[in-house]
Symmetry: C2
Subunit: 394 residues, 2 copies
């Protein structure tokens, strides 16, 4: 039978994932291509204890249907953390629980985008966002992401001329580049957006993973009614529970709640309760400090090995997060580095899927959180070998 899929499906960018799966299922390959946090840093004992307590105390409630907005004490915990970490006002009424912050990308696009509407994002931009947005058939405008944030001139022109429904960005340790917006640029972005109808959508998956453990103030600080923030426990606690959230003005969240309800009624309640129990009976800040110290070492190691072994490549110098991006020497193709890398048992992600306009042929993304330090050392040596061979062949 010939299935009559919707037009939007043809819009979905061809995913690199099949090849990535093939790669990640081969244990002899050291992979920097994925995006996993370190499994070794998940506090499995603490979460097991929290799970046991929830199942002892209140199992009938935890296993029953609940409301779409999510577990109120968890939403209060998240709002409270915004208040004390970032000094911004936040209430539980402004927090909606979702199935990992990827769901915010889908639901926010669904809430705002008509077919043909403009939406802005960074170039390079997060591939999960490109995939989610594309299914609503918008025009995606990109703004070059410089060392300290988006190119303000291009950003301003794009906002004035194209009036995007929203601009999506990752100001803290961006995926894929590892770059962080400067405070000045955050302020400047807010100034450009003020008075327009464009919402700023901050994806803050990595804001708690700065190596100096200091928070950076979000654009929402300057534009409270015109900015939203998506957050996630995937990087600070555990991804397998799929608990993230949207922090947005109550008026936006009310409508967001309608599309969330139509999408899946509500997020996993058992894990919301386990997570809340875990967060309130352990020391999440101490745990995050532990994660950050390890990621800092791994990132430094990867940067040093780039400098030592592959001086012809330039790379970003992340202040936090889980990714860095390297630019290949003139004429070297990221696709070729991927293919040859796999043959040499090391995988990196070509920049291609982070560009909606065919860029990324000369960049690669590397994840430094998942591999161990030994694996990073081995993998970087293998990668250097690949680069050397390919450069010789040119």
């Amino acid at each position: 039978m010939q299935y009559q899929f919707a037009d939007r499906v043809a819009r979905a960018p061809k995913s690199f994932l099949e090849e990535l799966f093939r790669v990640s299922s081969d244990p002899s390959i050291i992979s920097f291509a994925g995006g996993l946090p370190s499994a070794a840093l998940i506090d499995t004992a603490g979460i097991a204890r929290a799970a046991r307590e929830v199942m002892e105390e209140d199992p009938q409630v935890a296993l029953q249907y609940t409301t779409t907005d999510g577990y109120l004490p968890l939403r209060e915990y998240i709002a409270d953390r915004y208040r004390h970490r970032l000094g911004i006002t936040a209430t539980a009424e402004e927090i909606q629980i979702v199935n990992g912050s990827q769901q915010c990308l889908d639901l926010f696009a669904k809430l705002f985008l008509n077919k043909g509407d403009h939406v802005g994002m960074e170039r390079p931009g997060y591939l999960g966002a490109i995939e989610a947005f594309s299914l609503y058939e918008p025009v995606i405008d990109t703004v070059p992401l410089e060392e300290d944030g988006p190119d303000l001139e291009v950003f301003g022109r794009m906002v004035r001329n194209n009036r995007p429904k929203f601009f999506y960005g990752i100001p803290n340790s961006q995926n894929p580049s590892g770059r962080t917006y400067s405070q000045e640029k955050r302020k400047a972005i807010a100034e450009i957006l003020a008075g327009t109808e464009t919402v700023f959508y901050e994806d803050d998956a990595f804001g708690e993973l700065f190596f100096d453990t200091q928070p950076r103030l979000p654009v929402k600080r300057y534009l409270p009614d015109q900015a939203v923030i998506s957050g996630s426990f995937s990087k600070t606690v555990a991804p397998g529970m799929r608990i993230g959230w949207m922090f947005a003005p109550a008026e936006v969240l009310q409508q967001f709640n309608v599309v969330k309800q139509a999408a899946d009624l509500h997020s996993n309640f058992l894990c919301q309760k386990i997570l809340h129990r875990y967060l309130t009976t352990s020391d999440p800040d101490a745990h995050i400090k532990k994660i950050v110290a390890v990621y800092n070492r791994k990132c430094q190691l990867m940067c040093d090995l780039f400098d030592d072994l592959m001086p012809a490549l330039s790379h970003t110098n992340p202040e936090g997060g889980m990714f860095l991006m390297a630019t290949l020497p003139e004429g070297l193709s990221s696709r070729k580095v991927f293919d040859e890398g796999v043959k040499n048992k090391v995988a990196v992600l070509p920049g291609l899927p982070f560009y909606v306009d065919g860029g990324g042929t000369d960049t690669i993304r590397l994840n430094f959180s998942a591999a161990s330090e030994d694996q990073i050392a081995d993998g970087m040596h293998r990668l250097a070998q690949v680069v050397a061979t390919l450069c010789q062949g040119q």
Copy 2:
């Protein structure tokens, strides 16, 4: 600030839910208006044991990211159950795990519906489906649901003339009516659809809850490549874990997987593992028999009380599931019965949200799974009082 929401949001039907929440938060009100399975019948001890075992054996994997399709052993379990319960072919490659079967409604509509496409459903039809589909802005064609299934003449005409992308139905103990398609009508539907491009989407939330514990053969039995089935553990194990699935031809599922990935990467992995552990180390069939016996008694009690106390109302006689529907005497409004009911501390759901065309003014849906038998007895007496008072006032 004036937010520029997408047009589709305006299409979302006004939900009754706010009023329902108000109602359900008042413990003095006996509610037949919701759709909860009985919390008392959740095997909390068994699930707690399964959770403990998963957290002891493999916590790092259970708490990490996983693939979009879902936990393979769980998908194999589901496929195997189709084979041995219904005698239909099914493999793990045809099963995708989702966040409760509501997510199938969203993702399937997203996969198939362009704005303005036709989609068919029963009249009355499941309100969660109406909400999910509406956001993709289709034309919804409805087919009257008779005692034994859809009106075949209207169904055939609708398929021929409107060529809907798919027809959505609940052949087993439908929500809201409690009706079940006869085997003849299932076969006739397959015959009408064969050779057309219309897919049959069977929502099978209640197929394991027949009071006689006998399975009914799905339309997919006669149309393997042209039918899909969504399934759920919410009614047989527990809703709070939000684990359901889509059973579809591999070619459909491949694309479904793309939209699932864009929507939320994957479903909660911890609960997939807990659920699989629970299902394979307990006796799910014995547990389901227990549920069914209780629901059978409750349903019978409710039907008897209708006949004894409110002979002026007609009602459906469900063979299973969790709902029945009653038709009010001429001139009595379902909205009024709701309003007066709440004042008299009993809540029923007016039929209105189950009709896309303004029907349902004379029908009410009652849930018989959540309330205890004592509550059912009390609540039905209160309802009879309300109906009597309103009839006198006419």
